[in-house]
Protein backbone atom coordinates (compact mmCIF):
# COMPACT_ATOMS: atom_id res chain seq x y z
CA UNK A 1 0.00 0.00 0.00
CA UNK A 2 1.62 3.25 -1.05
CA UNK A 3 0.49 6.70 -0.17
CA UNK A 4 0.42 9.23 -3.02
CA UNK A 5 3.47 11.54 -3.18
CA UNK A 6 3.06 14.76 -1.33
CA UNK A 7 3.67 18.12 -2.95
CA UNK A 8 5.57 19.46 -0.05
CA UNK A 9 9.37 19.65 -0.12
CA UNK A 10 11.80 22.03 1.42
CA UNK A 11 15.54 22.36 1.63
CA UNK A 12 17.04 23.74 4.78
CA UNK A 13 20.36 25.40 5.08
CA UNK A 14 21.93 23.16 7.69
CA UNK A 15 24.51 25.59 8.86
CA UNK A 16 27.12 25.53 6.15
CA UNK A 17 28.06 29.14 6.16
CA UNK A 18 29.69 30.67 3.18
CA UNK A 19 32.62 32.80 4.01
CA UNK A 20 32.53 36.02 2.05
CA UNK A 21 35.07 38.00 3.95
CA UNK A 22 38.68 38.75 3.12
CA UNK A 23 40.96 35.79 2.59
CA UNK A 24 44.58 35.60 3.51
CA UNK A 25 46.48 35.10 0.31
CA UNK A 26 49.06 32.68 -1.02
CA UNK A 27 51.81 34.27 1.05
CA UNK A 28 50.00 33.30 4.19
CA UNK A 29 49.44 29.78 2.89
CA UNK A 30 53.09 29.43 2.01
CA UNK A 31 54.21 30.63 5.40
CA UNK A 32 51.71 28.41 7.22
CA UNK A 33 52.85 25.32 5.35
CA UNK A 34 56.50 26.21 5.78
CA UNK A 35 56.07 26.66 9.52
CA UNK A 36 54.18 23.40 9.89
CA UNK A 37 56.68 21.44 7.82
CA UNK A 38 59.62 22.83 9.75
CA UNK A 39 58.13 21.88 13.08
CA UNK A 40 57.32 18.37 11.97
CA UNK A 41 60.69 17.77 10.36
CA UNK A 42 62.58 18.59 13.51
CA UNK A 43 60.29 16.64 15.79
CA UNK A 44 58.22 19.34 17.43
CA UNK A 45 54.73 18.11 18.35
CA UNK A 46 55.80 14.57 17.68
CA UNK A 47 56.80 11.75 20.02
CA UNK A 48 60.25 11.84 21.53
CA UNK A 49 61.53 9.25 19.07
CA UNK A 50 61.28 11.84 16.31
CA UNK A 51 63.38 14.22 18.35
CA UNK A 52 66.46 12.11 19.11
CA UNK A 53 68.27 12.42 15.84
CA UNK A 54 67.78 16.17 15.43
CA UNK A 55 68.94 16.56 19.04
CA UNK A 56 72.01 14.47 18.33
CA UNK A 57 72.91 16.57 15.34
CA UNK A 58 72.41 19.82 17.18
CA UNK A 59 74.54 18.51 20.01
CA UNK A 60 77.26 17.48 17.59
CA UNK A 61 77.33 20.98 16.15
CA UNK A 62 76.97 22.99 19.32
CA UNK A 63 79.47 21.09 21.39
CA UNK A 64 82.51 22.36 19.47
CA UNK A 65 81.08 25.86 19.77
CA UNK A 66 80.65 25.49 23.51
CA UNK A 67 84.11 24.01 23.86
CA UNK A 68 85.63 26.79 21.81
CA UNK A 69 83.95 29.50 23.85
CA UNK A 70 84.88 27.74 27.04
CA UNK A 71 88.52 27.52 26.06
CA UNK A 72 88.48 31.15 24.95
CA UNK A 73 87.12 32.14 28.33
CA UNK A 74 90.09 30.66 30.09
CA UNK A 75 92.79 31.21 27.50
CA UNK A 76 91.86 34.42 25.72
CA UNK A 77 94.82 34.27 23.38
CA UNK A 78 94.08 30.80 22.14
CA UNK A 79 92.00 30.77 19.01
CA UNK A 80 90.62 27.29 19.08
CA UNK A 81 88.25 27.49 16.22
CA UNK A 82 88.33 29.99 13.45
CA UNK A 83 85.26 30.38 11.33
CA UNK A 84 86.68 28.76 8.22
CA UNK A 85 87.67 25.64 10.10
CA UNK A 86 84.36 25.53 11.88
CA UNK A 87 82.34 25.71 8.71
CA UNK A 88 84.59 23.15 7.11
CA UNK A 89 84.22 20.76 10.00
CA UNK A 90 80.44 20.80 10.12
CA UNK A 91 79.80 20.33 6.41
CA UNK A 92 79.12 16.64 6.83
CA UNK A 93 76.80 17.24 9.75
CA UNK A 94 74.90 19.79 7.70
CA UNK A 95 74.60 17.21 4.96
CA UNK A 96 73.18 14.68 7.39
CA UNK A 97 70.82 17.30 8.78
CA UNK A 98 69.46 17.97 5.32
CA UNK A 99 69.19 14.22 4.79
CA UNK A 100 67.04 14.18 7.92
CA UNK A 101 64.69 17.03 7.16
CA UNK A 102 64.27 16.95 3.40
CA UNK A 103 62.63 13.50 3.31
CA UNK A 104 60.41 14.51 6.22
CA UNK A 105 59.35 17.54 4.25
CA UNK A 106 58.39 15.96 0.98
CA UNK A 107 58.76 12.18 0.99
CA UNK A 108 56.33 11.70 3.83
CA UNK A 109 53.66 13.76 2.07
CA UNK A 110 54.06 11.48 -0.88
CA UNK A 111 54.05 8.31 1.20
CA UNK A 112 50.97 9.30 3.16
CA UNK A 113 49.23 10.38 -0.05
CA UNK A 114 48.69 13.88 1.19
CA UNK A 115 49.42 15.55 -2.13
CA UNK A 116 45.90 15.26 -3.51
CA UNK A 117 44.68 16.69 -0.22
CA UNK A 118 47.01 19.66 -0.39
CA UNK A 119 46.31 20.41 -4.01
CA UNK A 120 42.57 20.37 -3.56
CA UNK A 121 42.95 23.19 -1.11
CA UNK A 122 43.58 26.83 -1.97
CA UNK A 123 47.33 26.29 -2.02
CA UNK A 124 48.74 26.21 -5.50
CA UNK A 125 51.36 23.66 -6.52
CA UNK A 126 53.97 26.37 -6.86
CA UNK A 127 53.14 27.68 -3.43
CA UNK A 128 53.54 24.19 -2.01
CA UNK A 129 57.00 23.88 -3.51
CA UNK A 130 57.94 27.39 -2.41
CA UNK A 131 56.83 26.62 1.12
CA UNK A 132 58.88 23.45 1.23
CA UNK A 133 61.98 25.13 -0.18
CA UNK A 134 61.59 27.99 2.24
CA UNK A 135 61.03 25.68 5.17
CA UNK A 136 64.01 23.49 4.38
CA UNK A 137 66.32 26.45 3.90
CA UNK A 138 65.18 28.23 7.04
CA UNK A 139 65.41 25.10 9.14
CA UNK A 140 68.90 24.33 7.90
CA UNK A 141 69.89 27.81 8.98
CA UNK A 142 69.53 26.56 12.52
CA UNK A 143 72.54 24.38 11.95
CA UNK A 144 74.50 26.32 9.36
CA UNK A 145 74.13 29.81 10.76
CA UNK A 146 73.09 29.80 14.39
CA UNK A 147 76.09 27.94 15.84
CA UNK A 148 78.49 30.17 13.93
CA UNK A 149 76.70 33.29 15.17
CA UNK A 150 76.91 32.02 18.72
CA UNK A 151 80.60 31.39 18.21
CA UNK A 152 80.95 34.94 16.96
CA UNK A 153 79.02 36.30 19.94
CA UNK A 154 81.19 34.30 22.28
CA UNK A 155 84.34 35.59 20.68
CA UNK A 156 83.07 39.12 20.77
CA UNK A 157 81.88 39.09 24.36
CA UNK A 158 85.07 37.52 25.58
CA UNK A 159 87.32 40.04 23.86
CA UNK A 160 89.21 42.66 25.86
CA UNK A 161 86.75 45.32 24.85
CA UNK A 162 83.46 43.74 23.89
CA UNK A 163 81.87 46.71 22.15
CA UNK A 164 84.89 47.55 20.07
CA UNK A 165 85.55 43.90 19.51
CA UNK A 166 82.10 43.35 18.14
CA UNK A 167 82.26 46.40 15.96
CA UNK A 168 85.46 45.14 14.45
CA UNK A 169 83.99 41.72 14.08
CA UNK A 170 80.96 42.98 12.16
CA UNK A 171 82.74 42.14 8.96
CA UNK A 172 83.09 38.59 10.16
CA UNK A 173 79.45 38.53 11.15
CA UNK A 174 78.47 39.60 7.69
CA UNK A 175 80.54 36.85 6.19
CA UNK A 176 79.06 34.34 8.58
CA UNK A 177 75.57 35.35 7.56
CA UNK A 178 76.37 35.08 3.88
CA UNK A 179 78.05 31.72 4.29
CA UNK A 180 75.41 30.29 6.61
CA UNK A 181 72.50 31.37 4.44
CA UNK A 182 74.09 30.27 1.20
CA UNK A 183 74.96 26.87 2.65
CA UNK A 184 71.49 26.38 4.10
CA UNK A 185 69.59 27.05 0.90
CA UNK A 186 72.14 25.34 -1.30
CA UNK A 187 72.17 22.05 0.60
CA UNK A 188 68.50 22.37 1.30
CA UNK A 189 67.56 22.72 -2.35
CA UNK A 190 69.70 19.76 -3.38
CA UNK A 191 68.37 17.55 -0.61
CA UNK A 192 64.80 18.57 -1.28
CA UNK A 193 64.91 17.89 -4.99
CA UNK A 194 66.34 14.43 -4.35
CA UNK A 195 63.75 13.64 -1.69
CA UNK A 196 60.86 14.83 -3.82
CA UNK A 197 61.32 11.95 -6.23
CA UNK A 198 60.60 9.20 -3.78
CA UNK A 199 58.01 8.34 -1.20
CA UNK A 200 60.33 6.25 0.90
CA UNK A 201 62.22 8.34 3.43
CA UNK A 202 65.01 5.81 3.78
CA UNK A 203 65.78 5.81 0.08
CA UNK A 204 65.91 9.60 0.07
CA UNK A 205 68.23 9.64 3.08
CA UNK A 206 70.52 7.13 1.42
CA UNK A 207 70.73 8.94 -1.88
CA UNK A 208 71.29 12.35 -0.29
CA UNK A 209 74.07 11.31 2.07
CA UNK A 210 75.67 9.12 -0.54
CA UNK A 211 75.38 11.84 -3.10
CA UNK A 212 77.33 14.22 -0.92
CA UNK A 213 79.95 11.68 0.03
CA UNK A 214 80.48 10.16 -3.38
CA UNK A 215 80.61 13.46 -5.25
CA UNK A 216 83.23 14.63 -2.81
CA UNK A 217 85.37 11.54 -3.27
CA UNK A 218 84.92 11.64 -7.00
CA UNK A 219 85.83 15.27 -7.18
CA UNK A 220 88.91 14.71 -5.05
CA UNK A 221 89.96 11.74 -7.15
CA UNK A 222 89.61 13.80 -10.31
CA UNK A 223 91.63 16.55 -8.67
CA UNK A 224 94.37 14.07 -7.99
CA UNK A 225 94.26 12.79 -11.53
CA UNK A 226 94.31 16.23 -13.07
CA UNK A 227 96.66 17.95 -10.68
CA UNK A 228 99.03 18.69 -13.49
CA UNK A 229 96.33 20.72 -15.21
CA UNK A 230 95.50 23.47 -12.72
CA UNK A 231 93.20 25.31 -15.09
CA UNK A 232 90.79 22.43 -15.16
CA UNK A 233 91.55 21.24 -11.66
CA UNK A 234 90.56 24.51 -10.05
CA UNK A 235 86.95 24.12 -11.22
CA UNK A 236 86.50 20.55 -10.10
CA UNK A 237 85.02 21.66 -6.80
CA UNK A 238 81.83 22.39 -8.68
CA UNK A 239 81.08 18.69 -8.89
CA UNK A 240 80.85 18.32 -5.15
CA UNK A 241 78.48 20.29 -2.93
CA UNK A 242 80.72 19.77 0.07
CA UNK A 243 83.76 21.04 -1.78
CA UNK A 244 81.81 23.98 -3.14
CA UNK A 245 80.90 24.97 0.38
CA UNK A 246 84.47 24.66 1.57
CA UNK A 247 85.59 26.79 -1.37
CA UNK A 248 83.02 29.44 -0.53
CA UNK A 249 83.95 29.53 3.11
CA UNK A 250 87.68 29.61 2.47
CA UNK A 251 87.21 32.34 -0.08
CA UNK A 252 85.02 34.41 2.27
CA UNK A 253 87.29 34.12 5.23
CA UNK A 254 90.39 34.70 3.23
CA UNK A 255 92.22 31.44 3.67
CA UNK A 256 95.42 32.19 1.84
CA UNK A 257 95.94 29.27 -0.45
CA UNK A 258 92.47 29.53 -1.84
CA UNK A 259 91.67 33.15 -2.34
CA UNK A 260 94.10 33.57 -5.14
CA UNK A 261 93.03 30.63 -7.18
CA UNK A 262 89.30 30.67 -7.40
CA UNK A 263 87.23 33.81 -7.50
CA UNK A 264 84.77 33.86 -4.67
CA UNK A 265 82.05 35.00 -6.96
CA UNK A 266 82.36 31.80 -8.94
CA UNK A 267 81.51 29.72 -5.90
CA UNK A 268 78.55 31.94 -5.08
CA UNK A 269 77.38 31.82 -8.66
CA UNK A 270 77.54 28.04 -8.70
CA UNK A 271 75.55 27.80 -5.50
CA UNK A 272 72.96 30.26 -6.69
CA UNK A 273 72.72 28.47 -10.01
CA UNK A 274 72.21 25.11 -8.35
CA UNK A 275 69.51 26.54 -6.10
CA UNK A 276 67.68 27.92 -9.12
CA UNK A 277 67.99 24.71 -11.12
CA UNK A 278 66.80 22.55 -8.23
CA UNK A 279 63.87 24.86 -7.62
CA UNK A 280 62.86 24.80 -11.26
CA UNK A 281 63.08 21.03 -11.36
CA UNK A 282 60.84 20.81 -8.32
CA UNK A 283 58.31 23.25 -9.71
CA UNK A 284 58.13 21.23 -12.89
CA UNK A 285 57.98 17.90 -11.08
CA UNK A 286 55.05 18.89 -8.92
CA UNK A 287 53.01 20.04 -11.87
CA UNK A 288 52.55 16.41 -12.77
CA UNK A 289 49.23 14.81 -11.96
CA UNK A 290 49.81 11.81 -9.75
Amino acid sequence: MSTPPRDYGEIFDRGYLHYEGPRLGQMHAIWALARYSMARAVGIRRPWSAKIIPMLLYAAVFIPVAVSIGIRAFFPAFDFLDYASFFGAIVLLEGIFVALIAPEMVSSDRHDRLLPLYFSRPISRNSYVTAKLLGTGLLTLSISLVPAVILWLGNGLLAQDPIAGMREGLGDLGRIVIAGTAIAFYLGAIGLVIASFTSRKSVAVGVIVLGFVITESLSLALSEALRDQPDIERWLFVLSPTRTIVTLVDGLFGVPEFSSEVPLSAAIAVMAGVIVICSLVMFAWYQRDE
Partner: protein, 243 residues
Protein backbone atom coordinates in the same frame (compact mmCIF):
# COMPACT_ATOMS: atom_id res chain seq x y z
CA UNK B 1 61.06 -20.18 -8.21
CA UNK B 2 58.00 -21.71 -6.72
CA UNK B 3 60.07 -24.03 -4.61
CA UNK B 4 62.11 -21.11 -3.31
CA UNK B 5 58.95 -19.41 -2.12
CA UNK B 6 57.93 -22.56 -0.34
CA UNK B 7 61.28 -23.07 1.28
CA UNK B 8 62.15 -19.52 2.16
CA UNK B 9 58.98 -17.47 2.12
CA UNK B 10 60.29 -14.69 4.35
CA UNK B 11 63.46 -14.33 2.31
CA UNK B 12 61.65 -14.31 -1.00
CA UNK B 13 59.17 -11.76 0.28
CA UNK B 14 61.96 -9.48 1.44
CA UNK B 15 63.92 -9.84 -1.78
CA UNK B 16 60.73 -9.01 -3.67
CA UNK B 17 60.29 -5.92 -1.57
CA UNK B 18 63.86 -4.90 -2.33
CA UNK B 19 63.55 -5.42 -6.06
CA UNK B 20 60.17 -3.81 -6.19
CA UNK B 21 61.53 -0.72 -4.53
CA UNK B 22 64.59 1.17 -5.48
CA UNK B 23 66.72 -0.56 -2.88
CA UNK B 24 68.14 -3.42 -4.93
CA UNK B 25 68.98 -1.29 -7.91
CA UNK B 26 70.62 1.29 -5.70
CA UNK B 27 72.71 -1.37 -3.96
CA UNK B 28 74.06 -2.64 -7.25
CA UNK B 29 74.69 0.84 -8.60
CA UNK B 30 76.52 1.90 -5.49
CA UNK B 31 78.64 -1.22 -5.40
CA UNK B 32 79.89 -0.36 -8.85
CA UNK B 33 80.86 3.18 -7.97
CA UNK B 34 84.48 2.37 -7.29
CA UNK B 35 84.71 1.54 -10.99
CA UNK B 36 84.47 5.25 -11.69
CA UNK B 37 87.41 5.94 -9.47
CA UNK B 38 89.34 3.13 -11.03
CA UNK B 39 88.54 4.53 -14.46
CA UNK B 40 89.89 7.92 -13.48
CA UNK B 41 93.01 6.26 -12.24
CA UNK B 42 93.42 4.32 -15.46
CA UNK B 43 93.14 7.44 -17.54
CA UNK B 44 95.45 9.43 -15.33
CA UNK B 45 97.44 7.23 -13.01
CA UNK B 46 98.79 9.43 -10.27
CA UNK B 47 100.52 7.00 -8.04
CA UNK B 48 103.03 4.48 -9.13
CA UNK B 49 101.64 1.12 -8.26
CA UNK B 50 98.17 0.11 -9.45
CA UNK B 51 98.05 -2.69 -6.89
CA UNK B 52 98.71 -0.22 -4.12
CA UNK B 53 96.07 2.08 -5.53
CA UNK B 54 93.52 -0.70 -5.60
CA UNK B 55 94.24 -1.65 -2.02
CA UNK B 56 94.07 1.98 -0.93
CA UNK B 57 90.81 2.44 -2.77
CA UNK B 58 89.43 -0.41 -0.73
CA UNK B 59 90.80 0.96 2.53
CA UNK B 60 89.91 4.60 2.01
CA UNK B 61 86.71 4.53 0.01
CA UNK B 62 85.01 1.17 -0.10
CA UNK B 63 85.26 0.08 3.50
CA UNK B 64 84.61 3.39 5.24
CA UNK B 65 81.95 4.71 2.89
CA UNK B 66 80.58 2.37 0.33
CA UNK B 67 80.30 -0.86 2.26
CA UNK B 68 78.27 0.63 5.09
CA UNK B 69 75.82 2.39 2.81
CA UNK B 70 75.41 -0.58 0.52
CA UNK B 71 74.61 -2.83 3.47
CA UNK B 72 72.69 -0.26 5.49
CA UNK B 73 70.07 0.32 2.86
CA UNK B 74 68.74 -3.24 2.71
CA UNK B 75 69.56 -4.02 6.35
CA UNK B 76 67.46 -1.21 7.75
CA UNK B 77 64.76 -1.75 5.15
CA UNK B 78 64.30 -5.48 5.73
CA UNK B 79 62.38 -5.05 8.96
CA UNK B 80 62.21 -1.28 8.89
CA UNK B 81 59.85 -1.29 5.92
CA UNK B 82 57.59 -3.80 7.60
CA UNK B 83 57.45 -1.61 10.67
CA UNK B 84 56.90 1.55 8.68
CA UNK B 85 54.26 0.02 6.41
CA UNK B 86 52.53 -1.83 9.19
CA UNK B 87 52.81 -5.24 7.51
CA UNK B 88 54.60 -6.95 10.39
CA UNK B 89 51.45 -8.67 11.73
CA UNK B 90 51.38 -10.83 8.63
CA UNK B 91 54.69 -12.34 9.66
CA UNK B 92 54.14 -12.36 13.39
CA UNK B 93 50.73 -13.99 13.38
CA UNK B 94 52.02 -17.18 11.83
CA UNK B 95 53.08 -20.46 13.46
CA UNK B 96 56.62 -19.62 12.51
CA UNK B 97 59.37 -19.14 15.06
CA UNK B 98 60.65 -15.58 15.42
CA UNK B 99 64.08 -17.01 14.68
CA UNK B 100 62.94 -18.14 11.25
CA UNK B 101 61.60 -14.67 10.51
CA UNK B 102 64.80 -12.89 11.55
CA UNK B 103 67.07 -15.37 9.80
CA UNK B 104 64.92 -15.25 6.68
CA UNK B 105 65.31 -11.48 6.58
CA UNK B 106 69.05 -11.77 7.25
CA UNK B 107 69.44 -14.16 4.37
CA UNK B 108 67.66 -11.72 2.07
CA UNK B 109 70.05 -8.94 3.08
CA UNK B 110 73.03 -11.16 2.37
CA UNK B 111 71.66 -12.28 -0.99
CA UNK B 112 71.19 -8.71 -2.08
CA UNK B 113 74.44 -7.21 -0.80
CA UNK B 114 77.26 -9.73 -1.10
CA UNK B 115 76.90 -10.54 -4.80
CA UNK B 116 76.61 -6.85 -5.61
CA UNK B 117 79.71 -6.06 -3.57
CA UNK B 118 81.72 -8.81 -5.18
CA UNK B 119 80.65 -7.67 -8.62
CA UNK B 120 81.56 -4.09 -7.81
CA UNK B 121 84.93 -5.02 -6.40
CA UNK B 122 85.57 -7.37 -9.29
CA UNK B 123 84.75 -4.79 -11.94
CA UNK B 124 86.97 -2.30 -10.19
CA UNK B 125 89.83 -4.77 -10.25
CA UNK B 126 89.24 -5.44 -13.93
CA UNK B 127 89.34 -1.76 -14.73
CA UNK B 128 92.49 -1.15 -12.72
CA UNK B 129 94.12 -4.07 -14.51
CA UNK B 130 93.93 -1.93 -17.65
CA UNK B 131 96.75 0.18 -16.34
CA UNK B 132 99.92 -0.97 -18.10
CA UNK B 133 102.15 -2.82 -15.76
CA UNK B 134 99.40 -3.74 -13.35
CA UNK B 135 100.06 -7.07 -11.71
CA UNK B 136 99.41 -8.94 -8.51
CA UNK B 137 95.83 -7.75 -8.54
CA UNK B 138 94.23 -11.14 -8.09
CA UNK B 139 95.24 -11.63 -4.43
CA UNK B 140 93.99 -8.13 -3.73
CA UNK B 141 90.67 -8.96 -5.29
CA UNK B 142 90.36 -12.08 -3.18
CA UNK B 143 91.18 -10.13 -0.04
CA UNK B 144 88.71 -7.41 -0.98
CA UNK B 145 85.94 -9.88 -1.77
CA UNK B 146 86.51 -11.77 1.45
CA UNK B 147 86.68 -8.69 3.64
CA UNK B 148 83.69 -7.09 1.95
CA UNK B 149 81.64 -10.23 2.44
CA UNK B 150 82.57 -10.45 6.11
CA UNK B 151 81.91 -6.74 6.55
CA UNK B 152 78.50 -7.14 4.96
CA UNK B 153 77.66 -10.04 7.26
CA UNK B 154 78.62 -7.97 10.26
CA UNK B 155 76.89 -4.74 9.32
CA UNK B 156 73.85 -6.62 8.09
CA UNK B 157 73.31 -8.31 11.43
CA UNK B 158 74.11 -5.15 13.35
CA UNK B 159 71.64 -2.99 11.50
CA UNK B 160 68.96 -5.59 11.32
CA UNK B 161 69.02 -5.40 15.12
CA UNK B 162 69.21 -1.61 15.18
CA UNK B 163 66.18 -1.30 12.90
CA UNK B 164 64.17 -3.12 15.57
CA UNK B 165 65.39 -0.89 18.34
CA UNK B 166 65.47 2.59 16.91
CA UNK B 167 63.19 4.50 14.58
CA UNK B 168 64.85 6.07 11.49
CA UNK B 169 67.45 3.34 11.70
CA UNK B 170 68.95 4.28 8.36
CA UNK B 171 69.61 7.83 9.45
CA UNK B 172 71.00 6.65 12.76
CA UNK B 173 73.22 4.27 10.85
CA UNK B 174 74.48 7.04 8.62
CA UNK B 175 75.35 9.14 11.63
CA UNK B 176 77.17 6.17 13.11
CA UNK B 177 79.12 5.54 9.95
CA UNK B 178 80.02 9.09 9.09
CA UNK B 179 79.98 11.11 12.25
CA UNK B 180 80.96 8.53 14.81
CA UNK B 181 83.47 6.48 12.96
CA UNK B 182 85.11 9.19 10.92
CA UNK B 183 85.08 12.14 13.26
CA UNK B 184 85.31 10.64 16.69
CA UNK B 185 87.28 7.66 15.53
CA UNK B 186 90.03 9.96 14.52
CA UNK B 187 90.34 11.51 17.95
CA UNK B 188 89.50 8.71 20.34
CA UNK B 189 91.52 5.54 19.94
CA UNK B 190 89.03 3.56 21.97
CA UNK B 191 86.45 3.97 19.27
CA UNK B 192 88.59 1.98 16.89
CA UNK B 193 88.13 -1.11 18.98
CA UNK B 194 84.39 -1.10 18.60
CA UNK B 195 84.35 0.06 15.04
CA UNK B 196 83.09 -2.32 12.42
CA UNK B 197 85.37 -0.71 9.91
CA UNK B 198 88.36 -1.63 11.98
CA UNK B 199 87.54 -5.32 12.00
CA UNK B 200 86.71 -5.42 8.33
CA UNK B 201 90.07 -3.87 7.57
CA UNK B 202 91.78 -6.39 9.81
CA UNK B 203 90.27 -9.17 7.78
CA UNK B 204 91.43 -7.45 4.61
CA UNK B 205 94.98 -6.97 5.79
CA UNK B 206 95.06 -10.48 7.17
CA UNK B 207 93.98 -11.96 3.85
CA UNK B 208 96.35 -9.72 1.96
CA UNK B 209 99.36 -10.60 4.06
CA UNK B 210 98.41 -14.25 4.28
CA UNK B 211 98.35 -13.85 8.05
CA UNK B 212 95.84 -16.51 8.88
CA UNK B 213 96.07 -16.02 12.62
CA UNK B 214 95.04 -12.40 12.46
CA UNK B 215 92.34 -13.16 9.92
CA UNK B 216 90.85 -15.94 11.98
CA UNK B 217 90.94 -13.79 15.09
CA UNK B 218 89.11 -10.96 13.40
CA UNK B 219 86.58 -13.27 11.82
CA UNK B 220 85.91 -14.98 15.13
CA UNK B 221 85.20 -11.72 16.85
CA UNK B 222 82.95 -10.69 14.02
CA UNK B 223 81.21 -14.04 14.18
CA UNK B 224 80.46 -13.62 17.85
CA UNK B 225 79.08 -10.13 17.30
CA UNK B 226 76.88 -11.38 14.47
CA UNK B 227 75.53 -14.15 16.66
CA UNK B 228 74.79 -11.77 19.50
CA UNK B 229 73.04 -9.35 17.16
CA UNK B 230 70.86 -12.03 15.66
CA UNK B 231 69.92 -13.47 19.02
CA UNK B 232 69.02 -10.03 20.33
CA UNK B 233 66.99 -9.33 17.21
CA UNK B 234 65.04 -12.56 17.66
CA UNK B 235 64.41 -11.74 21.29
CA UNK B 236 63.29 -8.21 20.47
CA UNK B 237 60.95 -9.41 17.76
CA UNK B 238 59.28 -11.87 20.08
CA UNK B 239 58.60 -9.05 22.53
CA UNK B 240 57.40 -6.59 19.96
CA UNK B 241 53.97 -5.04 20.45
CA UNK B 242 51.84 -3.59 17.73
CA UNK B 243 49.06 -1.14 18.48
Amino acid sequence: MDALWRLLPVTMLTVRQFSGGKTARLVLLLSCFPVLFAAIFVIRPWSGDPAEYLADLFRELIVPTLLPIVVLLPATAALGNELEDGTLPYLLMKPVSRARIVLGKYLAIILVTIPALIVGVGLTTVVVSRVPGAEGLWPIFVAMAGAAAVGALLLGALFLLVSLLVPRALLAGMIYVFAWESLLGRFLPGVQAISSREYTLRVFEGLLDGDSAATVAAISTIGVVILVCLVLAIWRLSRMQID
